[in-house]
Each structure stands twice: as C-alpha cells, then as structure tokens.
C-alpha cells in the first residue's frame, strides 16, 4: 500500500441498492452514445459489483453485426479502461449480445423478442427488461409503439423504456409524444432521461436543502433577493451542427438541464423521498413558473450567437463558420432570461438563467443572493457590504460556497467578504460517477426519482412557449446578438440584469 491517493477503506463499500436480474436492450447500439456513455457506465456498474450476475446487454441497430462484432467494437471504444481491468472485461463482455433490429420493421422486433426470450433462459434474467432508446428523436414514438405491439412492454413490472432527450420540440409535440408512449406503456415504465439529474452535485441541491435545518427557513422571498443559474460551456458546436441547428441553446440546454436545476432549487419539500412525491413538487413549481414578461417576451430574454474570437495564434471560428452550420444561421448559442415563480415562497424573486457556448469558462452553478442587512452598521472594505451568497457549484470544482461578511483585521470596524467553502474533492477525494452510471442503475432498479415525468416535461415546454412562438413567428423581435467567442455573452445579456440594478456573477 504505497499510494494513499485513494481511500483504501472506501474501496468496495458502496451501499447501493441491488439491481434485479436484468436485460438491458440498447437501440442505437452502433451510435456514439452507446460506446461513449452507456456501455462504459454499465462496465463501471459491473466493476463496482452493482450488477447482478444474471445480466445481459443486447445491442440493437440496423447494422448486421454479430455478438462478437459488437463485443469487439465496444472493446475498442473502451480500450483504455479495459487495459486496467482485463479480467473484469472478459466476464462483463460475456453478457454482451447483438441483434440486428429496426424499430420501423415489425418483423425484426418480433425476432428480437424471441432472442430476448433465449437470452432470458441463457442468462437467467427473469424477464426483467429495460429498453433504452438511444435513437433519433423521430423514432421515440414509433419505437415505443413497435415495442408495445410486439408485446415487449406488456409486463408493467418487468419492462421499462428509457427515452433520451429531447422529449419533443415544444409543448405541443411533447404532449403528442406523451400521448403515444402512454398508450404503449404505463407511466411507471417510462423513464425520460436528463443526464444532468445524474450529477452528484445536482442531487446535492436536494440534500443540502432538505437534510439540513439551517437553510430551509431562509430559502424564500423573505431572505433571497435573486437567483442566478448558469451553465457555461467553453466548447463550440463540435460535431453536432446537424442537431444543434434545429435546436439551439434554448431547446438543448434551457428547457431540460437549466429547468431541472431551477426545479430542484425552488421546489417545496416532498413529504417523503419517493419518486412521485418528488416529481409532484417539481411539476408544481414548474407549473407556477413563468417568463418575467410573457406578453413581451423579448424584454426578458436575450439570444446570442458566438462569433470569431481567440487570439491570432489560436483563432476560434465563429458559429456560422463551423462545419455543417448554415452561414446565415440564426440559431442561438447563448440564451439569458428572467423568470418568476408565482407561489408563496418565491413571489417577486427574479430568477436569471443563462447558458452559452464558447464562453470563457466551463461552469455550472446556482447562485442564491440574499437580501442585504437592513442597516449597515459598519464600513465595508469594498465600499459597500457584499450581499450574502450561497453558491452551489455543479461543475467543475463540485461543492458549495457561502459568502459572508467578517471583520477585517485591524483597529477599525470594517467588514469584508470571505468564503466558507465545501469541496467534494477535499472532503471525499474520490471522483463522482458519471451521471449515466447513476441513471442507468436507477432505470434498472425501476426508480424514476431522477427521471422527468410527463407533466414535468410538459410544464417545462409550456414555460418557454412564448419564446419558442416568438422565435418561430417573429424572430426579428428576439434577435440573435453576436458575441465574441470566449467572452461572457452579448452586452444585451448584461443589460437584462442592469435594468434590475444587478450584474451577472463572474464565476
């Protein structure tokens, strides 16, 4: 034991719920997500002994691969990990299978059913099946229907279907998709995934709020002046231009990830930690949320698009110069907006959301700024006392910070702000699991707590409907402001807060 880099007493101690014998069927098995996220997450679960021995993964796609082809491709994708865990991979890969299947071809789905029965017998998976739709969103409805028609979703206790984002393009399409999938399966079988909810720090918002007594009494309009939620990326559109051109930052980030952070930050305490109780509260608060000005949404929202930036030595291409992007594109890569929540807890508190690509820093955080002390008794070193802030850092440097005033050393009574910080790294020193590890395990456990329910998804889309309609019908009213790559977005976004006498926090 020469190295103390990891805590040797922590190894193998996870107190996880145990997944029942299970067959996970991945549609879109030849795609990026399968080898980048899903199979690595499953292998991680396997290495952590959280998968039962009666377990199988069945990859499905149109390509005419064999089981061995699938195993070889997955092994190639995970080569670095496998190099360190060869024996584990040998055992894990015995449970990998492949069945050519096309969700639009009923005969291949029927054949898949027969193959799954055979794998059930071979691997003793007891008929427990989780179908993961990692396919084009256009197949979510028809794919679920195909599974239902083949009888693969008939047993509501043993079959589940996981649907990737985006769940719909707007309120109407989300409603329609919900109608289709709910006609095929019970709600408890449907798992709408948002990988942000798999993040340890996002879940920590709940623990921080509801496992401590000190925060909840001040977590309301009486003490909180405003809330900022930021998800900033340094990367550009990368290879996703095809998808991104039709979605933009509003659909890609705000409607799902930022809205989930908003819901967890603002929801009421559920009566118990139970999927339905949790999701009831999230749905309720989203139903109470609205744009700060629904009649004139352009007054409470700013869109932006990154232009060229960087230095002469390292120039960064603008969005319109990215491969696959329309040179005249008006797709937003940045959105900032102001919301309110009409309920007793939050009435009158502004919530500012922003997300963007090619910003200076990769950071996701929730910042709660408290009201100032009613009387300033002391001189502040910085001229004016800084309002207390609670900063929940989602990524990177996961943790939390509380900013408050203390007496500056010296003979006078001057105050200055200091930070009290909690860091996951310093306290635990172990990397957190990838979000998919947690979420896949939950789906196979049948625990939908961290998945979004139909009414939540619809409430989230409805919240942004005025903006989506405006972009569709009168885009000139919500123009796309250019901003230089690696800056904090367009000046108009700063003006959005300046109107309220505020500024964005510089993370």
């Amino acid at each position: 034991m020469s190295s103390m880099l990891t805590n040797p007493l922590r190894v193998g101690l996870r107190q996880e719920r145990v997944i029942a014998p299970q067959c996970l069927v991945i549609f879109g098995a030849s795609g990026d997500l399968t080898h980048r996220k899903l199979v690595p997450a499953l292998f991680e679960l396997f290495r952590q002994r959280r998968l039962p021995s009666e377990f199988a993964v069945v990859g499905c796609a149109r390509r005419p691969w064999s089981d061995d082809d699938f195993r070889a491709r997955m092994a190639e994708a995970l080569a670095d990990t496998i190099a360190e865990h060869k024996h584990a991979w040998e055992r894990f890969s015995q449970g990998l299978f492949y069945e050519p299947a096309d969700l639009s071809d009923t005969s291949t789905i029927a054949k898949l059913g027969e193959r799954l029965d055979a794998i059930d017998r071979q691997r003793a998976t007891r008929g427990n099946r989780t179908f993961y739709l990692s396919v084009s969103p256009t197949f979510y409805g028809s794919g679920t229907r195909a599974l239902a028609n083949a009888g693969l979703l008939a047993d509501a206790d043993r079959s589940r279907v996981v649907i990737e984002k985006p769940f719909g393009r707007d309120y109407g399409s989300a409603q329609e998709l919900n109608r289709i999938v709910q006609a095929c399966a019970k709600e408890k079988q449907i798992f709408r995934i948002d990988h942000y909810l798999g993040k340890e720090t996002v879940q920590n918002i709940l623990v921080l709020r509801f496992a401590n007594t000190i925060f909840e009494p001040i977590w309301n309009r009486n003490y909180i002046a405003n809330v900022q939620i930021t998800a900033a990326e340094t990367v550009g559109v990368e290879e996703r231009a095809g998808y991104y051109e039709s979605s933009g930052a509003l659909r890609d980030m705000v409607q799902n990830h930022l809205t989930q952070m908003l819901a967890l930050t603002t929801m009421e305490a559920p009566g118990r930690f139970d999927p339905e109780a949790m999701r009831n509260e999230k749905a309720k608060v989203l139903q109470a949320a609205h744009l700060a000005n629904e009649e004139e949404p352009w007054k409470c929202c700013v869109r932006g698009q990154y232009g060229t930036g960087g230095s002469k030595a390292n120039p960064i291409a603008g969005y319109r110069q990215e491969p696959g992007v329309n040179p005249n594109s008006t797709t937003e890569t940045y959105v900032a907006m102001k919301l309110f929540i009409n309920n007793w807890r939050w009435q009158g508190v502004p919530f500012y959301l922003r997300t963007g690509k090619r910003l200076p820093k990769r950071v996701s955080e929730v910042v709660l700024t408290f009201r100032e002390a009613p009387v300033h008794l002391f001189d502040a070193a910085g001229g004016a006392p800084t309002a207390n802030q609670l900063i929940l850092r989602i990524q990177p440097d996961e943790g939390a910070e509380f900013r408050f005033e203390v007496k500056a050393p010296g003979s006078g009574m001057r105050s200055r702000p200091v930070d009290m910080a909690f860091s996951y790294d310093e306290s635990f020193g172990e990397p957190s699991d990838e979000g998919y590890v947690r979420l896949l395990a939950d789906a196979m456990l049948g625990d939908p707590t961290l998945y979004t329910r139909n009414d939540e998804v619809e409430a989230a889309w409805r919240l942004y409907t005025p903006l989506l309609e405006l972009i569709e019908d009168a885009p000139w009213q919500l123009p796309v402001h250019p901003y230089e790559a690696r800056t904090w977005g367009p000046a108009a976004a700063d003006a959005l807060l300046a109107d309220d006498g505020l500024g964005w926090r510089r993370p």
């Binding site: 922590r10 193998g12 719920r17 002994r49 509501a156 306290s427 020193g429 172990e430």
Partner: protein
C-alpha cells in the same frame, strides 16, 4: 411480515410430495407462469422461539420470525438462566438454558408460511423450509401450498410459486433430505439460508448447501472457530457465501472509511500503530472480521496472535479472554491489535456486537506533518470509556458514533436475493481467512 400463502398448506404423506407438486403445476396452475426467480431453502431452527413458547414465556404461534416481544421475553430470561448479563438474546446458550426449564405448552407451528414481505416481494419460485422440532423423535410432516401474488395494479401476468415445509425431529428431517434434492429447480439459482447456529446439524448443512448453491449464514451464531472455518472453507471452495454478521458490520466499515475520506487524513492510514476493538460478550467473530478487513485494506501482514487474559471473573461477561495480535505494515513497522470483550447491560440481539474501535496513527518524526491521530468509533448505545482513556490528550482526536443498522436479517437477505449475486463479496473473501488466523488456536 407477510403471510405468503392465504390458505393453510396441505399436509401430505412425504411420498406423495413430488407427485402432488407435479399435479399442482400441470393442472391447478397450468395457466400461471411459474416465477422464473430462484429457490430458497431455509433451515429454520427457531430454537429460542420454540423454547420460549414451550416454557410458557412467550405466546405462539411459532413463525420463525424474531418479533420485538420475543426478544423482550428472551432478554428477561438471561439472568434467570444464570447467564452473564452480556448474553445476547440470540446466543444459542440461552435457548439451550431455556431447554432445561419445565413446561410443555403447545402451539401452532407456522414456520415456512410467514415470510418478511421484502423477501416475498422477490417471488421465490419455491420456498422450502426445514423446521426441526424440539421433540427429536417427531415424525416427518410435509406441507405444501401454492401462491400467486396479485399484481398491485390488477394487471395480468402473475407469476406463481409454491411453499414446501418439512417439519419433524432431527432424525426424520435427515431422512427427509432425499425429498429436498428433487424439489430444487436445476435451471434456477438456489439460495440456502442457514437461519440457526452453525454448530448444529453439520451433515445437514453439507447436504443442503453444496458449493453450487448460494449460502447465507450468520457467523455470530455458533462457536467462533466453527463459524470462521465455514466461511473460509466455503470461500476456498468457490461457493457464494454471504454472512449476515458481516453485513451488520456495514455501518462500522462506512463510519471508519468516512473518517479517512478527506485526502488530508489519508496519509495517517500508512502510520497505524495500534488497533483496539471492544465487543459485547465473548463472541469475537464480528470484531475479528472488522480487524481483518482493516488489515487487508491497509496491506498488513499477520505476524502472530495470542490470547489476552480477561480482567477477572464475574457474571457480567467482563472476565472473558481477549485476543491480541501483531501485524507488520508494508513498511516493516508493527501494529498492535487487541480485541477485548466488555460487559454491557443491554446487549444487542446477536452475540459479539461491536462496542467501540480505536485506531492510533503515529506519524513519524520528521515525516508527514501533523500530530498523532486517534480515531474512536463508538456504538450508538454503548460508551467508549475504555477506549477513550489512556494518554491521548496530545493527539488529534476523531470521534464518531456509529449508527445502529436499521435493517433486520430478513431485509438483508432480501437485498441478497434481489441482487442474485453468485459470488462472495470480495471484501469478505479477503477478510475471512485473516479473521480465522487471528483467532488463537
């Protein structure tokens, strides 16, 4: 607790058992899917319950489940039976002592028909209970029932199972063993839960739990040597063995790991010089397993182990001998280990529950910065006065209270059954051989 079968099981002559079950599935249940889950064979001694009921100290029926009332009745009898007050209610010596008391109360024996709902939720395809009776000469009774849980949402697709109970004296159960083997579905995993002392009926344990079956035992029940030998032998044989006593250590392992989660503390783990563990009563296995886990994780090599004389006799359990040992760290330094039994007024349910743990880390002079570190973990209900004494004023003290586990054996078992693991937990597999070596001959 849930009653698995709504109807009373049908009593059958043993020779008709196989034929009856065949008919049951071919005719009565022909439209139902047999649960493709697992078989569960339970050796349900329930000696404590049987003796308490026979002697009139508890009411029936006998179910095989540990109720709070039953434990209360057992605790009340400890002193009267002349046992040390640190004797745990589940200590087999208590049942044995109760056996000497007069009484011949009879009650219904429903073992095998009641099961914790967490277990029944997994729908065992076949639950076979072997229920030995106090009357060693009692002839074999065989009882059979089928069950089809109603789906909560009223949907179709109920998967049915059946319950088989073999009840009788030890001799008749031995003869009935031939009936059990053909009842176990070969295509489904089979779990064997030895829910009794590991000292009893060794030939029965051998017959019921060959290496291909997944075995669940409780190493707090039985003589320490026998308990540890069974763990080690089964692990060596490649059998999937699960120990409820080991599972009950979970909160201790977690609490100790938590102390060293902050990276700034980790370095201290390389400089441990002393480990002390206090246990209730005189059953050391749980404490040894904890020490063995620490030794394995920190890469210590066992040099020797020896008996440490207890500090005087008396009826409070404080006179029992302890265990000492020396380990060698990977840097060649020595770690002293002591496990001592301590008297407690209200012992926990199982023998050998942990009272406290102390780990002293002596950072070398001129080496890593920081004062010596002393970690003390105490059980929620017990004090750690012994471990807190003795010159630790100059040390950095990290003291934690270990929460009591809130899960019953049945809940632990249900977690195992739900997971379908077919191998021994690697931490247990590594710790058990060290624990066996720690126990002096």
């Amino acid at each position: 607790m849930a009653q698995l079968t709504l109807q009373a099981p049908t009593a059958l002559p043993p020779e008709e058992l196989g034929g009856y079950l065949e008919q049951l599935w071919q005719h009565d249940l022909e439209h139902s899917a047999g649960a493709a889950t697992f078989s569960l064979v339970v050796w349900e001694g329930s000696w404590l319950e049987q003796q308490l009921v026979r002697s009139g100290r508890a009411d029936g029926p006998i179910t095989g489940l540990l109720s709070p009332e039953l434990l209360e009745a057992a605790r009340a009898e400890v002193a009267g039976c002349g046992l040390p007050i640190s004797t745990a209610p589940m200590d087999p010596r208590l049942a044995w002592a109760l056996g000497k008391l007069p009484g011949s109360h009879h009650t219904e024996d429903l073992r095998g028909q009641f099961v914790e709902s967490a277990i029944s939720a997994h729908m065992p395809r076949r639950l076979i209970t072997l229920a030995p009776t106090l009357d060693a000469a009692q002839p074999l009774e065989t009882l059979v029932a089928a069950y089809c849980p109603l789906p909560e949402d009223g949907g179709a697709g109920a998967a049915c199972g059946d319950v088989v109970v073999l009840r009788g004296g030890m001799g008749s159960l031995q003869q009935g063993l031939d009936l059990v083997q053909p009842l176990i579905h070969h295509e489904l995993p089979c779990w064997v839960w030895w829910n009794s002392s590991l000292d009893e009926a060794p030939e029965m344990l051998e017959a019921l739990a060959p290496p291909t079956r997944r075995l669940v035992v409780d190493s707090s029940l039985g003589s320490p040597r026998r308990c540890l030998d069974i763990l080690v032998d089964r692990i060596d044989a490649g059998q999937a063995i699960n120990d409820l006593n080991w599972l009950r250590l979970r909160s201790w392992r977690e609490s100790l790991a938590m102390v060293f989660d902050p990276p700034a503390r980790r370095d201290a783990l390389a400089h441990v010089v002393q480990l002390d563990i206090d246990v209730e009563g005189d059953h050391p296995v749980k404490g040894l397993l904890l020490a063995a886990w620490i030794a394995d994780r920190l890469g210590w090599h066992l040099v020797n182990s020896y008996t440490v004389p207890g500090n005087g006799g008396g009826s409070n359990g404080g006179g029992s001998n302890g265990i000492g040992a020396e380990f060698e760290r990977s840097d060649g330094q020595t770690v002293q280990f002591r496990l001592m039994p301590v008297p407690v007024g209200v012992p926990k349910t199982h023998p050998g529950a942990l009272v406290g743990l102390r780990l002293i880390c002596q950072r070398p002079a001129g080496g890593s910065p920081g004062a010596p570190l002393c970690v003390i973990l105490c059980s929620e209900s017990g004090g750690c006065m012994r471990l807190e004494s003795g010159g630790m004023a100059s040390m950095e003290l990290a003291e934690e209270v270990v929460p009591l586990p809130n899960e019953s054996e049945e809940m632990e078992l249900a977690r195992l059954l739900g997971g379908g693991h077919d191998s021994t937990n690697p931490l247990l597999a590594a710790a058990a051989p060290i624990a066996a070596k720690l126990l002096p001959s």
